[in-house]
Symmetry: C2
Subunit: 396 residues, 2 copies
């Protein structure tokens, strides 16, 4: 009737909260004994004991066989979170490839598969390749779609709340492709679609160069330039999912920045447009004057937009990622110098440590976050795949 201002908690809820607390402690430092869990959660040993046994019978935790016990005294039972209770899929649908990863609830990658796709492939062909990769990856792992608890797909371009690439995408014919609906037929679990750049940002914070920071600006530097934002530890999408699309503003010079590299004088005619940048970076490394000038011009332009992000958000760290980050050795210091000149408070500037898998890793992480959110809000009844709340019927 009346909306709940704030839910008051009764005893069963208390037990649930403490169970979740134990699960968190279990995941943070596995494997753990009852005594350790008791210390970490602040609960008494007997309380943790019954909770841990309940987790085992529910399937959330498992007992480790007693191994080498260095300490004197009765050896403690060692519990561990049963990460294999569920799995998630992260997919990167890029211009040239489709990469799928399957991981367990702790993020351990169980299976990965990568197919190449022609850059000019249409949406139907690309979707078919997506299905093929996901299917093959699942069967290689000996799983069915019902074993999957969440799916995330990363695509290029801003993605709206419904999971559609509504604005712009370089993938041919990809506007308004409804991936949620496309995958919804086979997966009953939550399906998330997200911008590749945002996912790469998430990945850098998960197991990349920004794992220690909570306020992160990620700059994707490549043939396309983009940005991803983590503020207060949370990936920000914006009200309509279009956060980080600063590159669309021509005053920040991100649109034309890669042209400095592509149009650099001295690039041999035998080098294709996609490889021109790599050639320029190599030439610059070997001392070629024109190449160095091109790189410097590129960095100068990149720095304008980066400075706009830094001045707007004042992050702790800026991550320099994307395809060009392989040549970060050439550009990191010039970029720092430019930012020093343009910004009020200088953030740390670091190069990405993740390679081409960053987007798929971020997709994995987003799916894991979704699972955790549901776990910690809905409570842990039994480890089964969650189901989407509503399936908005919409044609792809």
């Amino acid at each position: 009737m009346t909306e709940l201002v704030t839910a008051g908690a009764d005893l069963p809820r208390l037990r649930e909260l403490n169970s979740l607390s134990v699960v968190r402690a279990l995941r943070a430092h596995p494997p753990a004994t009852v005594t350790e869990l008791s210390q970490r959660t602040g609960l008494s040993r007997p309380a943790v004991d019954v909770i841990a046994q309940g987790l085992v019978t529910d399937g959330w935790a498992s007992l480790l066989e007693p191994g080498a016990n260095s300490v004197v005294g009765r050896p403690a039972r060692r519990y561990q979170f049963r990460a294999t209770a569920g799995h998630v899929i992260g997919v990167d649908v890029g211009a040239h490839k489709v990469l799928a990863l399957i991981a367990d609830l702790d993020g351990n990658i169980v299976r990965s598969l990568r197919h190449s796709v022609a850059a000019d492939a249409g949406p139907a062909a690309r979707l078919a390749e997506l299905d093929a990769v996901v299917n093959a990856c699942l069967s290689e792992a000996g799983m069915t779609p019902s074993d999957i608890w969440a799916v995330t797909v990363g695509v290029t371009g801003a993605v709206d709340a419904a999971g559609r690439t509504s604005f712009f995408t370089p993938l041919p014919g990809w506007q308004n492709v409804d991936l949620t609906a496309h995958l919804g037929g086979r997966f009953a679990c939550p399906i998330l679609v997200e911008n590749d750049c945002k996912l790469a940002t998430l990945a850098e914070r998960w197991k990349g160069a920004a794992s220690d920071a909570n306020d992160i600006v990620y700059v994707l530097a490549g043939m396309r330039t983009g940005a991803g934002l983590i503020i207060d530890g949370i990936l920000r999408r914006g009200f309509g999912g279009a956060a980080g699309e600063l590159g669309a503003l021509k005053q920040v010079r991100w649109l034309d920045a890669p042209a400095h590299l592509q149009n650099c004088p001295g690039v041999p005619g035998t080098v294709g447009p996609d490889d021109a940048a790599a050639w320029v970076f190599n030439a610059a490394r070997e001392g070629d004057k024109a190449a160095r000038r091109a790189v410097n011009r590129y960095v100068k332009d990149l720095a304008v937009g980066t400075a706009a992000l830094v001045l707007t958000l004042d992050p702790q760290v800026v991550i320099f990622g994307g395809g060009f980050s392989r040549s970060a050795d050439l550009m990191l210091d010039p970029l720092r110098r430019e930012l020093e000149r343009l910004c009020l408070r200088m953030p740390e500037v670091r190069a990405s440590t993740l390679g081409a898998d960053a987007v798929a890793l971020g997709a994995l992480k987003l799916a894991l976050n979704e699972v955790d959110d549901r776990l910690f809000s809905a409570g842990l009844s039994a480890p089964v795949a969650p189901r989407r709340a509503a399936t908005p019927a919409s044609s792809g």
Copy 2:
């Protein structure tokens, strides 16, 4: 010893959580009967009853005298949150004035006082005026500093985590003035110092034009141009407190934008530089061609930076505030047109509804938030003024 991963809750903590839950319900819909509170919190009537009585004896709530009871049945006791249990102060230290507001815990303004200050006053004189206003306001309200639970002071310029204006401020000699230390001698409660622009943003969300939105970009348009950001309902300061200082980047044209108004041809020599903008707005309203052109140029420049913010954050709403927002009728539509051209997803654009008190109101809100945070994290023992955790000794 070991850091707590997540605190497990025991029974006393449960009661505390439920008490807070009742307090929240009480504040959301005052006055409230036990039955209403029971429905809103989901707790049983007897549980709410003992909690409510406890709140009354602690001083957090009070009983309302039974008034007209339209319904049949035994009249219910009506409880209300005792907002006068504590008070907070919000101060705006501006270029021309010092404005102090005192409010109770519900944000009802109890007392306000405004002193004018010369724009070229030095830091000592300005601090003296600040003390005078705060003292007078307190004594007029019949209070002492120990009655105050939190103090917030708004100043121009980026404020770092320690509460110092470390970067730039137009207030003469104000660099590195340590307001926290200055006020720390007389107030034992938390003292917050914050950028005026951020506080105005907070005020617009509290009781201004953005009360329905959680993702807000506030643009302060005046002789100085600034920005404040609310993302996911929370005011964002950035890692070093310098978020929103996009204006420092010359490519976004905010620095020179007001010059279009000041240097507009046709401004009589009798009009001072501070009043030139107002003259131009009036002239534009009356159809003066040169004035209209100046206003349009100004809006065009303002829109570049605003578009950078919008493209970066994709907010739900952009608030057009600051001194020039009095002339929003002239500029709102042109600003919308420019943004439509520059942005991917168009946010709502609204004019500020708060006048010159916005900064002080925001300061009040920040102080109230601080009180609430402490309340809801530390629990409610008895309504007394909180004390600062650590007083970092630093000379002003």
